[in-house]
Assembly symmetry: C2
Homo-oligomer: 109 residues x 2
Amino acid sequence: MIELTDASADVIAERFAALAVPMRLRLLNALRRGEKSVGDLADETGAGQANTSKHLQLLLQQGFIARRKEGTTTWYRVADPAVYELCSLVCGGIEEDLERRRKLLRRRG
Amino acid sequence: MIELTDASADVIAERFAALAVPMRLRLLNALRRGEKSVGDLADETGAGQANTSKHLQLLLQQGFIARRKEGTTTWYRVADPAVYELCSLVCGGIEEDLERRRKLLRRRG
DNA sequence: TGCTTATATTGATAGATAGTTGATTAAGAG
DNA sequence: CTCTTAATCAACTATCTATCAATATAAGCA
């Protein structure tokens, strides 16, 4: 972590916040294997179209994804592969967390 | 990112959410160089005591930090160094984001 | 027993935002 | 021009949570 001023804490927090919503993680997961349209993504995630569009724009604004317009459809794709590294790191933490909990259970049981 | 079920998206999102609050990032930053008490951390971050305690407990619950009680004071420390890697990755993204914006400005200007 | 200090907890409030609904823009097809 | 389809925008609601104030717990000391 870089030296943390109040301003940079805000920026970093905002970036984490973009990944702190299950729906947006599902969108990123759906984009793993290539470009998809808003409609595709709405179908795949089971979310409403307006909602899907809004989430995509937030991820776009944060630079995690990019888009390309073709006629009336908009194609979204992953722009920053680091997002998957982030998720892997977090998942590693979750593994450790589960392990800790298992140990606690064993100790108590 | 692991294969994403609805349940795991929730867990991962929750973990990101723990890092999505500026105050908690400041706490983690303050803990970079060793153990500190709740009071120390409240002073250093300028937050109220109750608020500080609550944030610390959330970070504790997520496994990012650990604690040790000594008399009436509680000493907190970082338990999962991955948190700093996460921040670095996110900061990298921020660098790219800034670069993108600079390019846009040049293109427009 | 009180008294003090350090944390934790509880209750209340204000602000943010995910999701829904309905309107609007925009691009083809007939 | 009209109809359809795709996406975005705007307004609203409901939920969540960061923060604060007040209280409670708990340890150490007089």
